[in-house]
């Protein structure tokens, strides 16, 4: 498989971190960075990573099925994650989640028809003291309110137009 030069460089760099004979260690980080480029974990990617890390495709499959951030379905350009775990729940995370699903008309692990946004209700994102929090891709938004969330979604949707 060919990746953009940046991704390829990243994958090579990751691969080089582990001792000889232990390249299996690179499986998860490689999948993470390659997924960012592809928007999902494809069958082709699984085969590629298996080959690079000297394991069987099944061994990569096992990993993909296990980790919640590795997706075999296409994710949106913006993967919007709403935390509803305890600290966020206490601070209105659930209301944010309800609002988002209603506004976008999609549910957990679903994607908008235009492929722009996918949604996920996530477990504790590690922002408890600044709850509630919403994560757009890898970008944290703290002290979220419905208004701020709307602004965020507006800006995402506006960017494309």
């Amino acid at each position: 498989m060919t990746f953009t030069p940046e991704t390829e460089k990243r994958l090579q760099d990751i691969w080089s971190r582990y001792p000889a004979g232990r390249k299996r260690s690179a499986v998860i980080p490689m999948l993470m960075y390659a997924q960012d480029e592809l928007g999902m974990v494809t069958q082709e990617l699984i085969a590629e990573v298996a080959q690079r890390c000297e394991v069987s495709p099944l061994q990569v499959e096992e990993v993909v099925g296990y980790y919640s951030m590795l997706n075999k379905q296409k994710m949106g350009k913006h993967h919007v994650q709403v935390c509803t775990n305890i600290a966020c729940l206490l601070m209105g995370g659930e209301e944010l989640w309800q609002h988002t699903t209603k506004r976008l008309g999609i549910g957990h692990k679903q994607i908008t028809a235009d492929g722009l946004i996918s949604l996920e209700e996530v477990e504790c994102a590690g922002a408890c003291s600044w709850a509630p929090c919403v994560v757009d891709g890898y970008e944290y938004h703290h002290h979220m309110t419905i208004e701020k969330l709307d602004q965020l979604l507006d800006s995402i949707q506006k960017k494309v137009q």
């Binding site: 099944l58 061994q59 499959e61 096992e62």
Partner: protein, 702 residues
């Protein structure tokens, strides 16, 4: 100055349920208990495979340990006091079973495993039958992963036995685990299907009905079958198999009682390749060629016809040629060679040879410990495989070596003409074209000298002088070496041991009047009778003697039978009593499991012809136990302890005690080249073997 360390204890003493027990250091508590007759419940623990501690059924109380301990991971410790059945434990196990049943369908009445399900047994023992679970169960549809394997995720209790059996036992790694938490399930390597050995080990090892076999599912119940322990007829490894029989039909094959040399191991042929037996093209009536066409006739007519012909040819001093199959029993082979030599006065008797065991015997003559057994393959510290794709051609021997690597850290070396599975766990693996093995061996010499011992397994590329060279080379290593000459088919060793060779009598005594080999017989234009007993020599070769009278014993109308003058429908190995000897010289008993109406065993056919010819007294009674007694008494190496055989074990024969002074026809030695999914002519009639996507397989592919 350091004080010498105290010698490690050789035995550990401990107490379980008030009983004083002892076990060697390192023994797991669960095993130590089992040996003492204390059964600790377990799903995930499986002797011989890696530890999981996942099912939590084996929890026990250990004094001075605050938490309950898993007996499956706890090595015995001096003075430890264990309780394996207490109220707390019963409650814990019941609780765990209750958890397990929340997502396990209670469809025992239609489940194949009903009656031999470990979960069912456990619920019976601890009683968690009534559930407080009132929610919806997770349900996922059943899937078919191969012509053999079905998986029902709902029934799966995730004990990971199948994953380990496939990965560790078979070295295949076709099964994994996907998803996580309660959605976890077993996943096949092909996405939605399996690409594997189709050995079915995963199915047999499954404690519940999550993995079921297409050949057996929904057909019968364990208690409706008789279970007959016999030996697989396909390859020379001679795995013991227990056939489940109902109404004269083989319903399944397995070896779950772990009796026999192979324990639970069986390959696809052993476990599923029995279906040739019930193939609709089985011959069930003798046939005589009348006006150029084979016509069905009565047994008496066919026997009489052959006897008359044999008598007249014999009286006229005509030439007989006898070709014996390697699926025959030792008794049949012995009786046949006696028939030929004493009755027909002909040493033109032979079988199709696949390995040069004769030269090996000669080269190591006098060395009684030079032949390795299946046990040696599990215990040796090092093994060298030359010129064979062991996992394909000798699946059980390969299994033994894998277990040896896992349990004893054995070192495996391979020198083969292509990549082999053994390379994955070998210390060194060299690929060289046939004929150049010795260059590679010389490169390995120094490394091998450092080993404590070695078992050498060699295929058909090492024959004649090369066997002698190999033994000479091994002699320079300065370590004890044992050998396995890799012959094919269930009873190739028996055929040699029983003197089904033109120049060797039973027990490798030189025949004073050597006869013709298979190749020579087929090439001779002066043959009057060709008698083929359970073999298909005309598959690729034409018989040169145009007018020879051809008699064939066969199960199917194969190339040989279809050109014969008389065809006797013979019984299969699963329909016979007697003994067979495997590739490592271990003799085991065959037990007739079924009968096919209209057929007779080859021994019976031989005996009846002898009787018709009036030679019965000379050749002897055609009953397998009488013939076996004679073998036991007279054939070198076969005076084995009878109790071993009678109880269904494997007795080691050891025919080596001197030179074998004959010329070996090296050209005629050739491996059948069968893969895991082919089995000579027999394999063609197994619908299952020919239906798996991996069929016919190829040697030297992975």
């Amino acid at each position: 100055m350091s004080t010498p360390a105290a010698a490690p204890p050789t035995v550990i003493n401990f107490t379980v349920d008030g009983r004083q027990l002892s076990a060697p250091p390192g023994t797991l508590l669960i095993d130590a208990c089992k040996r003492a007759g204390i059964e600790i419940p377990a799903f995930c623990y499986y002797e011989g495979y890696s530890l999981q501690a996942a099912c939590r059924m084996c929890l026990v109380e250990v004094e001075k340990m605050p938490k309950l301990q898993t007996a499956c991971t706890l090595p015995v410790m001096e003075g430890m006091i264990v309780r394996s059945e207490t109220e707390q434990l019963t409650k814990a196990r019941k609780g765990t079973l209750e958890f397990l049943l929340t997502n396990h369908p209670l469809d025992c009445p239609v489940c194949d495993k009903g009656g031999e399900c470990e979960l069912q047994d456990m619920v019976f023992r601890y009683g968690a039958g009534e559930s407080r679970f009132t929610e919806m169960k997770n349900h996922e549809p059943e899937r078919q992963w191969s012509p053999v394997v079905f998986y029902d995720p709902a029934r799966c209790i995730l004990c990971y036995r199948c994953v380990r059996a496939c990965n560790e036992g078979m070295g295949v790694g076709a099964l994994g685990i996907t998803n996580r938490g309660v959605l976890s399930e077993i996943a096949p390597n092909g996405g939605d299907h399996l690409d594997c050995d189709e050995c079915g080990a995963c199915i047999d090892i499954c404690p519940v009905g999550a993995l079921t076999s297409n050949t057996y599912r929904y057909k019968t119940r364990p208690w409706e079958m008789q279970h007959v322990g016999t030996v697989c007829t396909h390859c020379s490894n001679g795995c013991k198999t227990t056939l489940g029989v109902r109404n004269d039909e083989i319903m399944r094959g397995n070896n779950r009682d772990r009796s026999g040399i192979n324990g639970e191991f069986l390959c696809v042929k052993g476990r599923y390749g029995f279906d040739f037996n019930a193939h609709e093209e089985r011959l069930t009536s003798p046939m005589i060629r009348i006006n150029g066409k084979l016509e069905e006739v009565s047994w008496s007519k066919a026997l009489g016809f052959v006897a008359e012909k044999f008598k007249s040819v014999s009286a006229a001093g005509g030439k007989f040629g006898v070709v014996a199959g390697t699926h025959l029993t030792n008794e049949e082979l012995f009786y046949l060679q006696k028939f030929s030599r004493a009755g027909l006065k002909s040493s033109n008797i032979d079988h199709v040879r696949s390995g040069d065991f004769v030269t090996l015997l000669d080269a190591v003559s006098g060395n009684l410990t030079s032949l390795a057994t299946a046990d040696d393959l599990y215990n040796t510290k090092a093994a060298l495989v030359i010129g064979a794709d062991l996992s394909q051609q000798h699946p059980f021997l390969a299994f033994q070596l894998r277990a040896d690597v896992r349990h004893h850290k054995a070192k495996i070396f391979t020198v083969t003409p292509g990549p082999v599975r053994e390379a994955k766990y070998s210390a060194a693996s060299v690929v060289v074209p046939e004929g150049q093995e010795f260059d590679a061996l010389n490169n390995l010499t120094e490394q091998l000298k450092g080993e404590k011992e070695l078992v050498i397994l060699f295929g058909d590329s090492i024959k004649g002088q090369r066997v002698r060279d190999l033994v000479a080379w091994a002699g320079t290593l300065g370590i004890p070496v044992k050998y396995v000459c890799l012959v094919d088919y269930s009873n190739s060793r028996g055929a040699m041991d029983m003197g089904v060779m033109p120049n060797l009598l039973p027990g490798y005594e030189a025949d004073p009047h050597p006869g013709m080999s298979v190749k020579q017989m087929l090439a001779s234009d002066a043959l009057d009778v060709l008698w083929v007993v359970g073999e298909n020599p005309l598959r690729e070769t034409k018989l040169a003697s145009k007018n020879a009278f051809v008699v064939a014993h066969s199960m199917f109308l194969d190339e040989t039978a279809s050109t014969a003058d008389v065809v006797f429908p013979s019984a299969s190995a699963y329909e016979k009593n007697g003994t067979v000897t495997n590739v490592t010289g271990q003799v085991q008993r065959l037990k007739a499991a079924v009968r096919t109406m209209g057929t007779k065993t080859d021994l019976e056919i031989l005996g009846l012809i002898a009787k018709e010819m009036g030679m019965a007294v000379e050749i002897g009674v055609w009953s397998h136990d009488v013939v076996f007694k004679e073998i036991h008494k007279s054939v070198r190496g076969y005076n084995v302890p009878l109790p071993i055989l009678i109880t269904g074990g494997a007795a080691v024969t050891n025919p080596v005690n001197g030179r074998v002074a004959v010329d070996v026809l090296v050209d005629e030695i050739r491996s059948a080249g069968d893969t895991l999914f082919t089995s000579g002519s027999l394999g063609r009639y197994s619908k299952l073997l020919t239906s798996v996507p991996e069929f016919p397989g190829a040697l030297y592919k992975r």
